[in-house]
């Protein structure tokens, strides 16, 4: 890859992550859900960074249909822990594209740091994490000459800095 395309790729990825962060901060659940691919995996490990989620408890280990259930529950307005909603502001930084994988090298391994400030009825909480993503180029909805491509999330792993500790309720989208 030339450095020009490297820079373009990083710009695309950065724009995508900022958009995801905005949807989450604003509780725009449907827009956030639409960022996922059908083979989605949303994973927040507990008690370490790499415990086997197939045998050990994770804080979240959602496939696509459970992501949809989580969103439907938020939409009821009776998800008490998000009614009233947490007030959120997050900073996403240290974004890096680590490599390409998948068929046709279409998947990007991306990492970023995030720091989320939450204010809710209980008080103020800070959540710090490294987020590992698999982002995928899919055919775009644009009407350009080649149709264009867009990024989607196939995997998001949120590695909380304090995932060894007892955590307060984490019911917003992180």
């Amino acid at each position: 890859m030339s450095s020009a395309s490297d820079a373009e790729l990083l710009a695309d990825v950065t724009r995508f992550l900022y958009r995801e962060a905005r949807y989450q901060d604003e509780h725009d659940y449907d827009a956030w859900e639409a960022l996922w691919t059908d083979d989605a995996l949303y994973w927040i490990p507990a008690n370490g960074d790499d415990l086997d989620p197939e045998t050990q408890m994770s804080i979240v280990y959602d496939n696509r249909s459970r992501i949809a259930l989580r969103i439907r529950q938020l939409h009821t307005g009776k998800r008490h822990t998000q009614s009233p909603r947490s007030r959120l502001r997050r900073i996403v930084s240290n974004i890096d594209v680590l490599g390409r994988t998948g068929p046709d090298q279409n998947d990007l391994n991306v990492t970023a740091n995030a720091l989320v400030y939450e204010s809710n009825l209980r008080g103020e909480t800070l959540w710090a994490s490294r987020n590992d993503y698999t982002l995928r180029f899919v055919p775009g909805s644009g009407s350009g000459p080649d149709g264009g491509t867009e990024l989607r999330m196939a995997k998001k792993k949120v590695i909380l800095a304090n995932n060894q500790a007892a955590l307060f309720t984490l019911s917003f989208l992180i």
Partner: protein, 423 residues
């Protein structure tokens, strides 16, 4: 401390009455300290499960309230509960969550302890001439007893107070019923714990575990979206019952509903054809008829006072840290010899409990609202009179009520008062 207890002692008849309790029992730091002495550091408390230390020299870090307790298995297979405090100058001795070792070495001056707590050696030993090493081992939880793999500890002196079996009483049957779901008759605690911290008093959580009144309201969002049948167990027409089992223990007995529906594995939202291997093993282990009855009845929903909640597919272990702070440790129950069932138990558990759980995050929101609300001045009490007029005695002599009635709470509080009034 002693003075504070004496001041409190005469007031329990005012603080805890048959159908109401005073809000201060959830908020007063002096009451919390008294509870540590009279409940957590005296009676039987659930600590861990023997399957968490399967091999000789395994250890795992556990807790009794704010006390950090090392559960070890020594080379001969015996389980010990050791306090994580160096008898030299108070340093924390073990900093790992789990592992396998024959000895623990204190990082401060190198004292070395066997995994049964004995002091093995001290560096530069000439400095301890004439000192009795046998008096300088790690502190121990004096009484350790195990029931079907469930390890309980009590700080009471050996020989004083009830035995574990006396303490469990009728609640032992919940453990009996639970382990039957393994074709080998054993539960395993091997899936790791989620640790959910909440700014609320531990008794709000105990109260809630067998409160059949709240699910309709607190969990409506997930019952409706997941099209779950659980909600119907807790509605006004449910034939399920709430039961006080004595010694602070209570249950929601859902069997009347499941027997009415008569669907094996219906309690788990699935059916026999989805788990053919498991069902086949159960039939071999228990015979066709008994296996079917077990699978129709479902697992227990039982609160074992003060800190073990058998929540059908999960175990919750409550750890009070302060009057207004508690950690809920929760894991998926795993049944020995049932890998296909266990996988589903883990999946459902991860979805429903822990900090992001579709169910428990809403319960926990209520605990915190309770904690803030109860600090308001008026009324000063919580009213626990639901179903008092229709309490009845079942064929075994236990007090029962409708599933939405506050029979479990009233029973728990009467036991609590007796413990707090004891000298």
């Amino acid at each position: 401390m002693a003075a504070a207890l004496n001041v409190l002692a005469p007031t329990w008849s005012r603080l805890v009455q048959r159908d109401r309790v005073d809000g201060s029992v959830y908020t007063d730091p002096a009451i919390f300290r008294a509870e540590l002495e009279k409940i957590w550091y005296r009676g039987w408390v659930y600590v861990g499960h023997s399957s968490e230390v399967p091999k000789p020299n395994d250890f795992v870090m556990k807790a009794i309230g704010p006390q950090s307790v090392l559960m070890t298995r020594d080379k001969d297979g015996q389980i010990h509960l050791l306090l994580n405090r160096c008898p030299h100058r108070g340093n924390q001795v073990c900093l790992e969550d789990r592992g396998n070792t024959t000895s623990f070495v204190c990082s401060y001056h190198g004292w070395n302890f066997r995994n049964n707590g004995e002091l093995r050696g001290t560096p530069f030993p000439a400095g301890y001439q004439g000192v009795d090493k046998s008096q300088l081992g790690l502190g121990k939880v004096a009484r350790v007893e195990t029931y079907k793999g469930f390890v309980f500890g009590s700080f009471a002196a050996p020989g004083s107070g009830p035995t574990l079996l006396e303490h469990l009483g009728a609640a032992a049957e919940a453990i009996d019923r639970l382990v039957q779901f393994s074709p080998e008759g054993e539960v395993e605690v091997t899936a790791g714990f989620l640790k959910h911290r909440t700014k609320a008093n531990w008794k709000f959580i105990v109260d809630n575990e067998t409160d059949g009144y709240h699910p309709t309201f607190v969990h409506a969002s997930i019952f409706s979206t997941a099209k779950s049948g659980i909600g119907a167990l807790y509605n006004n027409d449910s034939t399920a019952v709430s039961r006080y089992l004595g010694n602070g223990h209570s249950e929601n007995d859902l069997r009347p509903e499941f027997r009415r529906l008569d669907k094996p594995l219906g309690w788990f939202g699935t059916s026999e054809d989805r788990l053919p291997e498991y069902v086949a093993k159960m039939k071999v282990a228990y015979g066709e008829e008994k296996a079917r009855q077990i699978l129709v009845d479902g697992t227990p929903h039982t609160m074992i006072f003060p800190n073990l909640f058998i929540a059908e597919i999960q175990l919750f272990v409550l750890q009070p840290l302060a009057a207004d702070e508690t950690v809920q440790h929760v894991t998926a129950i795993q049944f020995k010899g049932a890998p296909d069932l266990n996988r589903r138990m883990r999946q459902q558990t991860m979805g429903s409990v822990g900090p992001a759980g579709l169910l428990l995050a809403d319960d926990t929101e209520m605990y915190e609202r309770n904690q803030r609300g109860v600090q308001q001045r008026d009324p000063e009490t919580l009213f626990l009179g639901r179903g008092l007029h229709r309490e009845r005695t079942d064929e075994n002599g236990f007090t029962i009520g409708d599933n939405t009635d506050e029979v479990p709470s009233r029973g728990m509080w009467s036991h609590y008062r007796a413990l707090m009034e004891a000298t």
